[in-house]
């Protein structure tokens, strides 16, 4: 039976792993390769590297991180952050990544999704979105790390991204992100009901039952967390054991 996936996210700045709390106050943490290996031993199903480097040589730095990780960790690797062109996709994939996630750049130029999917296949195109509740209960999409409201309906954008060739969606709720109060069940469910590609839920995972809820109530295919795992408040292993005990299909490693 296909397993629900647990995905740690590593926020990488200048080749080092950091974790922002609500997109600010970055704390240094460590070598991405060592952390990737640690997550691997814990039973992580995939890894996401989110490159938050601001400098102009960012591509070189993240390519180096991916190359080094791919030599020692043999699971799917996704890289996001600042990918703007098909050539960026090519470089990241050649470095050993399996998927590339695009966020702001896909909103600003949706043809990036179709162009990348045509060239490399849908399976490696992940469309990430940061969504926030409006007063009327609908969800709008923000870009630039949650700074700019694009006033685009998140559900409609999810459907459009799938139509353009996205192979997977990574949906972060800005309302629950950093709160540790649980994943955004309503947002995630609306999106999993609207599309037929896999959906990774992100933002708000803080306790074991949150993971069960996002799989059972919102039908997410995968759940992503960063600081929760990074600061070892919970380990990937603990989450997966809990899910297995509670009847959720997960891949247990031994």
């Amino acid at each position: 039976m296909l397993a629900k996936r647990i995905i740690p996210c590593l926020d990488v700045k200048d080749g080092r792993v950091v974790k922002g709390v609500n997109f600010v106050n970055l704390r240094d943490a460590g070598d991405p390769v060592e952390i990737a290996k640690f997550y691997n031993t814990q039973g992580a199903d995939e890894l996401v590297f989110l490159d938050i480097t601001a400098s102009s040589d960012r591509r070189k730095t993240i390519v180096d991180v991916v190359e080094r990780t791919a030599r020692e960790v043999f699971m799917p690797l996704t890289v996001g952050g600042g990918i703007r062109t098909v050539e960026d996709f090519r470089e990241i994939l050649l470095a050993g990544a399996d998927k590339v996630s695009v966020n702001s750049s896909a909103i600003l130029d949706p043809t990036l999704i179709s162009r990348a999917a045509d060239r490399f296949g849908s399976q490696c195109v992940v469309v990430a979105m940061d969504a926030k509740r409006r007063e009327d209960g609908s969800f709008t999409v923000y870009i630039n790390g949650g700074r700019k409201d694009m006033n685009i309906d998140a559900i409609e954008w999810a459907i459009e991204a799938e139509r353009l060739g996205a192979g997977e969606l990574l949906v972060t709720s800005m309302d629950t992100d950093g709160t540790k109060s649980g994943f955004d069940i309503e947002l995630t469910k609306k999106i999993t009901e609207a599309v037929s590609i896999p959906v990774i839920a992100s933002g708000g995972g803080g306790a074991l039952p949150h993971f069960k809820d996002v799989f059972e109530l919102a039908d997410a295919d995968a759940a992503l967390a960063a600081s929760l795992f990074h600061y070892r408040e919970l380990t990937v292993g603990e989450v997966k054991e809990y899910l297995a005990e509670n009847g959720v299909s997960v891949r247990l490693t031994r």
Binding site: L2, D45, R71, F74, M75, Q123
Partner: protein, 203 residues
Amino acid sequence: MAVIGIIDYGMGNLHSVKNALDFLEIDNFISSDKEKLAASDALILPGVGAFPDAMESLHRDGLVDFIREQTKTKKLLGICLGMQLLLEKSYEVRECEGLGLISGEVIRITAPGLKIPHMGWNDLRFPRETPLTAGLSEGDFVYFVHSFRAELACEDDLAAYTEYGERIPAIIGSGNVWGAQFHPEKSERVGLQILRNFGGMIE
């Protein structure tokens, strides 16, 4: 020491396969050069993309007859699309002839109510023992990404399968020709064991 040639025909991420073999300390190289590949002790045919494009690339590089000839005396492991290419024909995009090294066809997965592609970790079942699956256990998980699957003409060619709305052949083959529908190079311990086994089969 035995060396594996990874066939480069412009389709897919060859470096992931190379990384895994390097990690296992199995000698290997990537090449599109028939002379170099002919000097290897075994071949791996990777592949990501669409079946007709892949066959076109193999024809363009003169690799179709080469691979057919090589496998008379040499072990070959096809991975993902590389596995599908081993079959007689596929219906992906359009009807297209494959390498025909294993009897059967490649058809679209019909998994009512389930998402296509079949993507993620799924567990293996083993109808028989093979050298490629030695050391693996029922329920071991491996990483799949595909929308089409093998429909084998001969059940004896099935070495492992998984369930996704229907039975999905996961490892197929016999004799010199083997294929994995999933990505062993992205399947951690279990996948590495399969590649280690393949390395062991050529020594």
